[in-house]
Amino acid sequence: MANTTKKSGIGKHIISFAFMIALTIAAFYLVINNVVSKGWILPLILILAVIQVILQLFTFMHLDQKGSNYYTFFMIVGIFVAVISAIGIIVM
């Protein structure tokens, strides 16, 4: 019983890692091979990056575990202020 939970713990991380590698390769592939038009490339690679970061936060950084509500709240507030700041600077 204990052994299976331990294995699934590592297994989850390996699968998550494989997804991250795939997302990274996809982003590089899109840019190197000019697959999509110039207007679409930024939103596409940005979406790939956001998915990868969500994977990092919820698997590697354990936000999926119980009792992570405050951690998630801090990050959401941080991201909220961060996005406003970044867009504000760019638009300014």
Partner: protein, 207 residues
């Protein structure tokens, strides 16, 4: 004391990092810090994105400078080090010190490899005429990527010294929260890098 911890390790997946009140507070406080770090990097990203085309005639642009092969290699190093760091935490919670130290050691080595690549890259850029002082593009580029590189450097020193402490004191309720928090920091560095390779290098190549 030690006999008690030995018996409990096999029962359930322990979370040694939050076993004490101090440990819990350490992790909570660290997430607050990471939220603030997010804002810091967002401001640097915003500045870079606003200024990335501001070069003088004749100065190299991002499109000419950036080498995606090098960036892909650096990304591979940092992404893999994020996995090795999480494996180290897995073995920490199983009280397997040897395996934890092994994976932490690999994490540090991958971090060093990343740093060597970045230094090589910066030196190359300076020879090409892309410096901190050359243009607004240069200033904002080095401010953003350099701040990230400084974080990697600090992470390497931090994790190495914690490895020394763990070697002396073992995996205890005092050392575990420190190791866990340093691993969170390391993952966060990787999170920032994901946005750097996307918004600086890939977007730079697009133009």
């Amino acid at each position: 004391m030690s006999a008690q911890t030995e018996t409990t390790t096999k029962d359930a997946p322990l979370h040694l990092e939050t076993a004490t009140f101090e440990g819990k507070n350490k992790v909570l406080g660290f997430w607050l810090f990471l939220g603030a770090e997010t804002v810091l990097f967002a401001c640097l990203f915003g500045t870079y994105l606003a200024l990335r085309h501001q070069t003088l005639p004749g100065q190299p642009t991002g499109k000419e400078l950036f080498d995606l092969n090098l960036v892909a290699l650096a990304t591979a190093f940092l992404l893999t080090s994020s996995l090795t760091s999480v494996l180290a935490m897995h073995y920490m919670n199983q009280q397997r010190k040897g395996l934890m130290q092994l994976w932490l050691g690999i994490t540090v080595l991958l971090g060093l490899a990343f740093l060597v690549l970045e230094i090589y890259e910066f030196v190359h850029y300076v020879h090409e005429g892309h410096t901190f002082m050359s243009s607004a593009f240069g200033s904002s580029f080095y401010a953003l990527v350099g701040t990230h590189g400084a974080h990697v450097t600090f992470g390497i020193v931090w994790i190495s010294t914690l490895m020394l402490q763990a070697a002396r004191r073992g995996i205890t309720k005092e050392t575990a929260p420190k190791l866990f928090v340093s691993s969170l920091y390391w993952h966060f560095i990787d999170v920032v890098w994901v946005f750097i390779f996307t918004l600086v290098y890939l977007l730079g190549k697009v133009g």
